[in-house]
């Protein structure tokens, strides 16, 4: 999926957060977003997901203004742990089957197998490790065959082995032509997969650069 951001400006009631932000991604490209807390990373993701109202002609997905998109059929989202109700009594099976609009079919089974979720299929999500939880959320995001995958801090609370698995999964998805937008504090995670970096700071300034063009500013 092609992503175009065109002079995106966003302000909360009293605070400007994103100022004239512009960049574009082609299908299958990988964008990593860095920035300190409060720099606008989450705000940008919320703008992408239409959780916040943005101006017309500011964000385009496959050349369609997101304000004209009624339903995101092609966008997958992997939230931060703090964003969902993690005390909710729910099993992996329920998380996945409720996210899958259709009847469970071969594709559903393929995703469950691909993320090795069979062993934890009937586990309550409260009993899962950080890595297992991320696998569940990525599987859920992929159930609806997204062309754009947005991940918000997926490595938080995940051990080294599972970070490696997560990296390989994203590499595989990139190979399959899925555009990936990753928000991460971890500068090294997926640096080999990243095509572009977007670095935001708390002065509403940004740097959008191709990977390999000099150092990535922190």
């Amino acid at each position: 999926m092609r992503v175009t951001v065109n002079n995106l400006t966003f302000a909360y009631t009293q605070k400007l957060v994103l100022n004239n932000l512009s960049f574009s991604l082609k299908s299958g490209e990988f964008l990593t977003i860095h920035g300190k807390n409060g720099a606008g990373k989450s705000t940008l993701i919320k703008c992408f997901l239409k959780m916040l109202k943005v101006n017309h002609n500011a964000i385009f997905l496959d050349d369609i203004d997101i304000n004209n998109i009624k339903q995101f059929n092609n966008v997958g989202y992997v939230p931060q742990k703090t964003e969902f109700n993690y005390e909710f009594p729910i099993t992996v099976f329920e998380v996945l089957s409720c996210a899958y609009v259709k009847k469970r079919d071969a594709y559903y089974t393929e995703i469950v197998n691909a993320f090795d979720l069979n062993k934890i299929y009937h586990e309550n999500i409260n009993n899962l490790s950080g890595g297992q939880l991320q696998r569940v959320f990525i599987a859920r995001a992929l159930l609806n065959k997204p062309k754009l995958l947005i991940l918000d801090e997926p490595t938080v609370g995940v051990d080294i082995d599972n970070i490696k698995t997560l990296h390989d999964t994203l590499a595989n998805l990139k190979k399959n032509g899925i555009t990936i937008v990753l928000v991460s504090h971890d500068m090294d995670f997926c640096s080999d997969l990243t095509d572009y970096y977007l670095i935001l700071n708390d002065l509403c300034e940004y740097t959008f650069k191709k990977a390999g063009d000099g150092n990535v500013p922190c």
Binding site: K50, Q71, Y77, P79, F84, F88, T91, F93, C98, V101
Partner: protein, 287 residues
């Protein structure tokens, strides 16, 4: 003997049959909606709406004494006020960005004040009627009330079956629900209206003061034992039904109001589960 005489009366008197059917239906509805209310951390809204719904019932009683219009039927007025209450709460939440919870006590106080006012304006209201509003009187369920309860139960069931996946997704992860194309605002509105409908139905059965308990306490017990959403809902319904049927039998024999007995049984179940949970985790730690 204890049970035999209850069942003998059950087969003999229509009003006991109506009461039991109404109780069983409410025993399913209350925890079903209660689970969503608790999980979305809206427990206090049930209490607020029940008090505002009471105002509708009292105004209905007052007006139906003045004019003989069906529209002023107290149960119907209770439903209308309950739904109005949800919109007023939502409006008030918009006024207080940082003190959103203020909307609830404001609406609740308004409901209590209106109820008090219209009870005093309605002549010939006896203390028995007031007591039945506060603590319920399930044995006074009429055929019309029963039909209303059956219709609302069917509506709620159809709604839950049709939107089950969406409700679970909304409760678990609101952001994902929005991203996946669920009309979150519409679903929330529908859930709130159903909550308002169910609450106004309960006034007859458990009374205003105990409505929230009937929705919340079985769910509080179920959350401690349930390891999936479905499991939690089913456990909550089982606890609720057990307390309702037992409460019926005990209150019939002891000749006391049914509502409080049902709630006290629910609280007992909760305490027993808490103790078992505590013992279980202590044994686990010791191992």
């Amino acid at each position: 003997m204890f049970l035999a005489s209850f069942f003998e009366a059950l087969f003999k008197y229509d009003f006991i049959q109506y009461a039991l059917i109404a109780g069983i239906l409410v025993g399913i509805l209350a925890p079903l909606i209660g689970t969503v209310v608790v999980i979305r951390r809206l427990s206090f809204i049930a209490d607020t709406l029940s008090h505002f719904s009471l105002a509708g019932v009292c105004i209905g009683v007052f007006l139906s004494k003045l004019v003989d219009w069906k529209i002023f039927d107290p149960l119907f007025m209770g439903i209308v006020f309950s739904i109005m209450g949800t919109f007023i709460i939502e409006k008030l939440r918009g006024f207080y960005k940082n003190y959103k919870e203020l909307s609830m006590p404001i609406v609740m106080s308004c409901g209590v004040a209106l109820s008090g006012l219209f009870i005093s304006l309605s002549n010939n209201i006896d203390s028995k009627f007031t007591s039945s509003l506060l603590y319920g009187s399930i044995y006074s369920v009429s055929t019309t009330d029963l039909i209303t309860i059956i219709v609302i139960t069917i509506i709620v069931f159809i709604f839950v079956i049709l939107t089950y996946k969406k409700i679970v997704t909304l409760c678990f992860d609101e952001t994902y629900a929005k991203v996946s194309g669920i009309n979150v605002n519409l679903l929330q509105l529908a859930l709130t209206i159903i909550l308002a409908l169910v609450i106004s139905l309960f006034i007859d059965i458990v009374g205003v003061l105990l409505i929230a308990s009937l929705m919340i306490i079985p769910v509080a017990s179920a959350i401690l034992v349930g390891d999936s959403f479905l499991n939690t809902v089913v456990s909550a319904i089982l606890f609720s039904e057990f307390s309702l049927v037992t409460g019926f039998i005990i209150s019939y024999h002891a000749n006391v109001t049914t509502g409080p007995v049902i709630i006290l049984i629910n609280v007992t179940i909760l305490i027993i589960i808490m103790i078992i949970k505590k013992l279980h985790s202590s044994i686990k730690k010791a191992k």
